[in-house]
Symmetry: C2
Subunit: 304 residues, 2 copies
């Protein structure tokens, strides 16, 4: 059962190339779109992927380096032209409001919707968004400026009712919600019918972790243990291990090590440095350690 | 003789489409690059066209609508990463410095080069840049906010010396500069040798006018009379004539009328509204009035 669909809009690093746009991606959960990072050109890529602008309500910005947020103003401006209403929420470091608000006031002063900045604390691991079905929390990362990743977790789902059994025991409607949550049923005669006779297991919940940009750190492992998909930056290959450390980035091998230790379902590498003409080096190096690795690429879509 | 090369980086309007980037173009004059407008993605398009970032020293911003300037910060940031030195001059309305400076300070605080804003007065027709060979002046336009076009004019060139004649009259080196400027030569015996016996005509100078965004106005005609190439906005076709007026934009027919009245060499239409799936309507309508019309398109290069 697929719960999420991730679309990569950009997976390059600071210097854009002819192959990669800067960081931006969209996670679709039940037709609600969550954008993660918003590098320059994100709105162009969004359109190129024929995604509906109206579905977008939340933006999550990992950190305030330009390659992760220079697309914000253009995207918001376009949403304005499109006549979007309601609210757009930008989850980002507190500086974001201070830095982008004057731009919004100057360039987008007649927006038909409200832009709300939700100041997050990148150094904490805490829930920053929650709805009926989903929970998003910050994953503290270690980069040159305050940075966090994001963990998207589906909440535990309701168990499936077994129709015939509900009928057979003549269960009243008011009991149904509890039974879906796992409650047993007690008949008027006082007999306990265990929940597993009335329901089948809930669909599994999916989890997605986005980690970019960061130096390798063991601390991350326990926070993302067992996620279905991990997007981890892999700015450099092993040939630039020293440079990765110096610039607080990771190599493909380090990303794969995190994936392997955290026993994730699948690893997607991204945030590739412009110096590599061919990204397959990242894949080769990572697969030595964690075979279920794939490379991000513009317009790649993956369901999980 | 071709003096300029123009490269279109983007020729869409406010709403980006899968076909067009927002406004940005580069005029190459003797390997000095002048960027005109800088919509989102300009740096990506610049790179895609394999143009050298080091050649870029001047940016001219017609007005402060997002589709003409949202690419500035990304471009400057990339120039910083590339280690560019010296100075980058942004010719734009005075607000530009107020609006963009805080962003530069936040995102690009360690730039290895200086960004200087040259505040221009869009309502005036005046020279804003001059070097040995080129002159740039503002062309007042009429849009919803202060807006100007730009006229790029090569200065009059030196006449070509006729080698044999220079030798024949044994002309001293110190006279050469004046003769190239058109002076006659007086022999030691007092005989006047007219300049046209010593030189051939100078190469013709080229002129380029960029006019976007603007409502139709006759006033523009005399300012751009006889330019070799006119880039004029053509946001709408004739079917949206009323909307053009309302939003202070031009139709293809209006752009062609300007071109025809100003007797320009060639007209290039751009700034196409996202509502047209096929730009050929602009071409058809304009050519009825001014046959030597072409359509701008991303990565189109034209020499003149």
């Amino acid at each position: 059962m697929e719960n999420f669909e991730l679309t990569i809009l950009g997976c390059g690093s600071a210097m854009p190339t002819t192959r990669h746009y800067p960081s931006a991606q969209v996670l679709n959960h039940r037709d609600r779109f969550f954008m993660i990072d918003c590098g320059e050109g994100a709105q162009l890529q969004y359109r190129r992927n024929k995604m509906k602008f109206t579905r977008l309500q939340h933006l999550f910005i990992s950190h305030l380096h330009g390659d992760h947020c220079f697309g914000l103003i253009g995207l918001i401006s376009t949403l304005g032209i499109l006549g979007r209403t309601g609210e757009l929420i930008i989850h980002a470091h507190a500086d974001a409001e201070r830095v982008f608000k004057p731009h919004l006031d100057y360039f987008c002063h007649e927006l038909p919707f409200n832009v709300r900045f939700n100041a997050i604390s990148p150094s904490k691991n805490e829930i920053i968004y929650e709805d009926k079905a989903l929970r998003v929390s910050t994953l503290p990362l270690k980069h040159r400026i305050p940075t966090c990743g994001f963990l998207f977790e589906e909440k535990e789902k309701e168990r499936h009712l077994i129709g015939e059994m509900i009928k057979f025991y003549n269960i009243p409607v008011k009991e149904i919600a509890d039974i879906k949550q796992g409650a047993d049923f007690i008949t008027p005669e006082g007999i306990i019918i265990p929940n597993n006779r009335l329901t089948r297991a809930a669909d599994p919940s999916s989890r997605y972790a986005y980690c970019s940009d960061t130096i390798y750190q063991n601390k991350l492992i326990s926070l993302i243990e067992g996620v279905d998909l991990l997007y981890h930056e892999s700015t450099f290959a092993d040939d630039n291990k020293a440079r990765a450390k110096e610039t607080f980035h990771s190599t493909a091998i380090q990303a794969a090590t995190i994936a392997q230790k955290a026993q994730v379902g699948k690893l997607m590498l991204g945030h590739f440095s412009a110096r590599y003409m061919d990204d397959s080096i990242f894949l080769q190096e990572a697969r030595e350690i964690f075979p279920d690795t794939i490379l991000a690429n513009e317009s790649l879509k993956i369901k999980f």
